[in-house]
Amino acid sequence: MQEFIIRRIIYTIFTIFAVATILFCIFRIMPGDPTAQVISPALDEAAQARLKEAFGLDKPVYIQYALYLKGLVTLEWGRSFTTSKPVFEILKYRFWNTVFLMGAAMGFTLLLGTALGMVMAWKRGGPLDVSATVSALVLQSAPPFVTGILFLMILSYKLDIFPTGGMSTPGERLPPGIAMLFNKDFLLHLILPAITTAFYYLATPMLIMRDSMLEVTGSDYIELAQAKGLSPGTVMIKHAARNALLPVFTVSSVLIGFALGGQVIVETVFSWPGMGLLMVEAASAHDYPVAQATFLLLAVLIIVLNLLADISYCYLDPRISVPGGKK
């Protein structure tokens, strides 16, 4: 087991390194002046030359590559072209905004998904089962900007229940750090984007829960428990659900990884100042240092989540005890 985990961690580091390398290459082969990736073309020539030297761009590619890797590790991610702020500073603040939104959305998806999945399996074939399956699949087919705009149209503009976007009411400054999470204004702004994300990803935990419940309820020990005369509710929750949760749990971190990539849309629709919105802004402003770092940070998050999925999978599933048993 330990050996397996250590190997996964090594793989993970390798993967991050590889993604960073691919990113480096993409920014090198793009059309136009490759130095434009760290030096704003808006600067005059003398300033550009000064910066070129500072970033080592007058050196051969392999040295640039080494400098690039060194910069990544030491958190020196350069300076934004558009705002002149160090990229790390910008991301520090954006990162948590995305994490909060993501946490709320995924928490909601998983809770609702497993609960619905359970009930669906219990009343399988019933109207709830069918209608929930269909609506979850349709929600999954509806891009988040469609659901998001729909929510905005109805709940914000028509009924005026929720704010139209942003993280707080104009003029109301949010308290810094954790205290922000308990701010009413913040929570009100959080609801719509969180639900939009949650709905999009609802189908996966729900259907997995349903299917694995069906699998579990078919097994011997559940029948045994039923034979012992336990009430169906007790059997459902105490025995079946606990075992069925396992695959949902493992899939959830992969799901969050996917959702992180899709976050760009929700954040754009609700102008939520997270990493996704930053990514879009940076890409359309050709603010390469920011785009590069944001991309990489998202990638690292996803890769780490995948690692967690692997580890939890091997801890939780007793059937896999062989190292690397997933094969």
Partner: protein, 549 residues
């Protein structure tokens, strides 16, 4: 299958067979001479993406459709705005560029649109004459207006220059769009509209009063503010924020003429020397006194670090000296008529005690890269906080000699124009700052308690031509194209009617300098064909246009 045409020019570029040649002579020269009688090259109209401004790709599309009708293959090519700037202003590698020259207060003086846009010396990396336009007659006229210190005489020259510039059509002014903006009249009063700035003017900022609420005016903006660096500032929206915090020696008044501000009065000693009396008892926001030394420092510093927006004018300055306790003398290398309106009315005064350490003691290579987290100025508003990407707050600086009438301004970023309109409609925000999409304005105008209007503007949307590339190097061709573009349709369909048909580069709204004799060419395809036919262009059976053969 998809709309993907690659023209000859594109093909040449992709195949890169001519890299060597283009490096020697620049991309303009590479395509200079077409074969006689050959098909007129397909071209592209570069412009910004709809994300930045929904109007631009649409106009580019309408123009290209119009060009197609006359037998010339043109496609719209909307790409990210800063790629536009890079390709056009820096590399001069483009065919046509559709762009907005915004009517900031600094551009009321005709110098920018005449000299900087048309003078052949301004065809350089970063210059405004990216068209590569060059005409000796126009050159001498626009030089003359710059040097002429007598206003009446200068007006004459400006009028003459406008006629020639319009005839030459290096720029096809499509429309003067109005400054469309909205505010809640039930929450604020005393807004002061200004030419080219609408209600977003500086004079609104300091004169408006709050009827309801805590005295703070909530201003909505569709996209986040990028930086607050007074030395590096280049775009209009940055200037709008900076000028609240930083003072200038003069301010351009609501009527377009400069009025003394941080400089109490001035005296032209001779055409090359100007003496300024700096206002007494001014203070920086941190309590330090504002002195003539600061003024001198600002000039020296901006010259040294090449403040991008003012660099070309700063180069005309010979020396700046402190005279006495409150006097500053500026000596010029040559006479320069727009000195006050274009430089002294725009250059932000920097506190020496802060900026003398930049960049040396700060962690930046260049003051242009300095993030300026907590700006300290001397302006009527004091910086409070800036949550990047979300909100900026400034409060009244009561010590100022002209303190604002409101308690302060909170600027909030809404993701889109639509969200801005919704916020004003709901009363969540009191006003918007810059242009609000015209089509939204018409909806807002119907709401009670909201004033939504278009205000006169001297800025314009213009289609600029790369005058070094055939067929655009032919003035007759450019003139014919001016007859092809359906400007009325563009204004009706894309600008919701809130614009006027474009003609001269000096807009009619700029009453003093505009030459009413310059009229837009009519939209007349027959006339256009006529001009082209006279210039020798022919059409084949498919209706495609060919070069004179």
């Amino acid at each position: 299958m998809f709309n993907n045409q690659i023209g000859r020019r594109e093909f040449l570029k992709i195949t890169g067979g001519t890299i060597g040649a283009s490096m020697l002579t620049g991309p303009g020269a590479l395509f200079a001479a077409p074969a006689p009688g050959a098909l007129v090259d397909p071209m592209k109209i570069m412009t910004a993406t709809a994300t930045m401004d929904p109007v631009r790709p649409e106009v580019a599309r309408v123009c290209s459709e119009a060009f197609k009708k006359i037998g010339w293959d043109v496609a719209a090519n909307p790409i990210d705005y800063n790629q536009n700037v890079q390709k056009v202003i820096m590399e001069h590698d483009y065919d046509m560029w559709f762009v907005m020259l915004s009517g900031a207060s600094l551009r009321i003086d005709p110098n920018v649109f005449l000299y900087q846009v048309h003078h052949s010396s301004q065809f350089r990396k970063g210059g405004y004459n990216w068209e590569g336009f060059s005409d000796p007659k126009i050159d001498s006229l626009v030089e003359a207006q710059q040097k002429e210190m007598d206003v009446e005489k200068r007006q004459q020259i400006v009028n003459e220059a406008q006629v020639l510039c319009h005839e030459a059509q290096s720029n096809n002014v499509i429309a003067y769009m109005q400054m469309t903006s909205a505010y809640r009249s039930d929450r604020i009063k005393n807004v002061v509209p200004m030419l080219g700035e609408g209600t977003g003017s500086f004079w609104t900022d300091i004169n408006m009063e709050v009827i309801k609420g805590d005295g703070y005016v909530k201003t909505a903006r569709p996209s986040p503010l990028k930086k607050l660096n007074p030395v590096a500032a280049k775009d209009t929206t940055e200037f709008m924020e900076l000028r609240m915090i930083y003072d200038t020696l003069f301010r351009i008044g609501p009527d377009g003429s400069p009025r003394p501000w941080a400089a109490e009065s001035y005296k032209m000693v001779d055409p090359l020397t100007i003496d300024l009396a700096i206002r007494k008892n001014m203070k920086w926001h941190d309590g330090e006194p504002f002195t003539a030394e600061d003024v001198k420092f600002t000039f020296d510093y901006s010259i040294k670090w090449k403040a991008p927006f003012f660099n070309s004018i700063l180069q005309k300055i010979d020396t700046v000296e402190v005279i006495g306790k409150h006097g500053v003398r500026i000596k010029l290398k040559e006479t320069y008529a727009p000195l006050i309106s274009n430089l002294l009315g725009g250059l932000f005064m920097l506190p020496k005690h802060i900026w003398k350490d930049i960049p040396e003691k700060m962690d930046v290579e260049d003051p242009l890269n300095f993030p300026n987290e907590t700006p300290v100025g001397s302006g009527p508003f004091k910086f409070d906080y800036w949550d990047r990407g979300r909100e900026i707050k400034v409060s009244a600086f009561t010590h100022h000699f002209n303190p604002p009438k409101c308690a302060g301004i909170i600027g909030t970023v809404y993701g889109s124009h639509d969200a801005v309109a919704a916020a004003i409609e709901k009363g969540e925000c009191d006003r918007n700052r810059y242009i609000l999409k015209p089509s939204l304005l018409l909806d807002l105008a119907k709401i009670k308690g909201v004033v939504a209007k278009g205000y006169p503007n001297h800025g314009f949307y213009t289609l600029t031509y790369n005058c070094l590339r055939a067929p655009l190097n032919d003035p007759q061709f450019r003139k014919a194209m001016a007859h092809v573009i359906p400007k009325e349709l563009i204004i009706e369909a894309i600008l919701s009617g809130l614009a006027d048909v474009g003609g001269s580069v000096i807009a009619p709204a700029n009453k003093f300098w505009h030459n009413p004799a310059v009229k837009s060419f009519p939209n007349d395809i027959v006339k256009a064909r006529d001009i082209l036919a006279k210039a020798g262009y022919t059409w084949d059976k498919k209706g495609k246009m060919h070069y004179p053969g």
